[in-house]
Symmetry: C2
Subunit: 153 residues, 2 copies
Amino acid sequence: MTSPPPAAITAAVTAADAVAPTPAQLMDQLAQAAAAYYRNFATVAAQRGLTLMQGKMLSLLRRPMPMRTLAELLACDASNVTGIVDRLESRGLLRRESDPADRRVKLVLLTAEGERAVAQIRAELMSELSGLESLEEGDRRALQRLLGQVFPA
Amino acid sequence: MTSPPPAAITAAVTAADAVAPTPAQLMDQLAQAAAAYYRNFATVAAQRGLTLMQGKMLSLLRRPMPMRTLAELLACDASNVTGIVDRLESRGLLRRESDPADRRVKLVLLTAEGERAVAQIRAELMSELSGLESLEEGDRRALQRLLGQVFPA
DNA sequence: TATTGTTATACTCTATAACTATA
DNA sequence: TATAGTTATAGAGTATAACAATA
């Protein structure tokens, strides 16, 4: 029976031998990971003159969707979407289109230029997250499963 | 020799048998996880009348630190820190203190009320992330290792 | 000279409330 | 009546540039 090493030693130990982190420690690491993700995303968006929210909105538009849906996905009030869409529309990255099925609804969709911008953002973000590309298949499966467990859809 | 199942079937398969996600798919899942983390954090902060940035700043102040350091940790310009600290100081959650070693520097530190606020935010956030508490030791170790690999310190 | 923190400025994001046009 | 989108408003976050105090 081996007793777990004291916390001070943990950092120097290889992953396989490491003491399991507490949920609280894992929460701190999640905070750092989430911050790092958005720092990378914001940097990549800023390189194209876009704010974080503008980059997020463009990235969400894999298919046309109502403004109301964008508000839900961006976790903000519907009144904010008007301004964000306005600014992106004036730059030619997306456009509004009336929904024939319900004339109250405006569908937002990317222009060709918007599609290119999203593709470049995604590519640059992927190259920023080089640690992601170097994961083995087993590790990719494990990370997918664990993230799904901590953040259920 | 078994060939991997087509992508359309993947979703219905159990985790153990699942095809490994591509790095691009994993990047999308990271985006969702980071968004979910901050949605939870912002909700918990808002319950105490705090914005996301205010909650972040308080959570960073485990020990006194210069405004400049806060700017780096929050990934924003130093000029923004003045206003955020102002608002939290006027609410009695933190205070400024001159650094005797370098009189240009102002150290920011939590008040007793600020300490209580942080403790409550952390506790409520932990209860929101119930999926974290239910992870087995092996899964906690794995998640720690994988996050460290994708987002190196 | 360089650095820390502040101020002034302009822009963006944010929620709330009130409005319109549709349903 | 209810919903989708807009507008007006006020407050908060954001980067830039210029400044005072200190190193």
